[in-house]
């Protein structure tokens, strides 16, 4: 699944660690999502959407 997490994070000037702290996961998880090696669970996708004030489908595209 494609996602625009890296772009969104860079817009906020956050490091992967910063984002990881905000959504309460490890930096490795953020990295795996950004590199599209791992698709997050629905609760985590909702957390990301809430954090960036977007809809899930604005961040993730099949």
């Amino acid at each position: 699944m494609k996602n625009s997490l890296r772009e969104l994070r860079r817009l906020k000037n956050w490091s992967q660690g910063d984002l990881a702290d905000r959504i309460e996961v490890s930096r490795q998880t953020v990295n795996a999502i950004e590199t599209e090696k791992y698709d997050p669970s629905l609760p985590l996708a909702f957390k990301l959407a809430k954090l960036f004030k977007l809809r899930i489908e604005d961040i993730f595209t099949p």
Partner: protein, 227 residues
Amino acid sequence: MSFTFNSEKQGGSRRRFALSTRTSRWAAVTLLSALAAVGARQLAKTASWPAGLQLTVFVVPVALVLIGAILFFLNLWRDIAGKVMQSLEAGVRVGQRGGLVREALHLGSPAWSVCFVMVSFAAYSLGQIDGMPQWLRLTLAVAPIVPLALYLGSIGRDKAAVDELALRVRHEAYGFAFHATIGLLVCFHLLESAGVIKNLTLGTTQLIVGMLALLVVGAAISGRRYR
């Protein structure tokens, strides 16, 4: 591999304590050497090698197990001590909802599994001593139940503490170890029935060591996939 560190009290945050690469590496070396030692022992029994070669084949992995175990525990101690020191520097702090948050060390399931293996090994070794009273023999036989219970309890706690990717890595490692063990057992019995393997038996010890080694391999493969 990670441990839960700092069980929270009254609204404190939960942090994770990750083993250093060096500690994980020595754990892997120890487990793989133990597997090699068990294999070498069985091979030495069946093959008609000179006594010197038999001894060398067995002694080298055993030496590696000992060195690996010592270095693993030294590094584990360094990891834990470092985290505890870090915690002490922070001191007792006020939680989000008020009240003091007491920093506490809680070892997770990997530590309890190692503890279980060590207690089982010690209990088995001591149980071989002749002339031991029956009550002591019985006590030794049931001693591993305590770390086993703590291990099983810590699995649930760990599951709640790790994030979803770590949980997936762990599940994949368990799945890999389980299926690979079954596959290897089937292969072993097929080779045995075909007469390729003779006078070689697979006991509980070999199975446990093998499964643990496969668990480490599974975790390494799965961890690398999401890196």
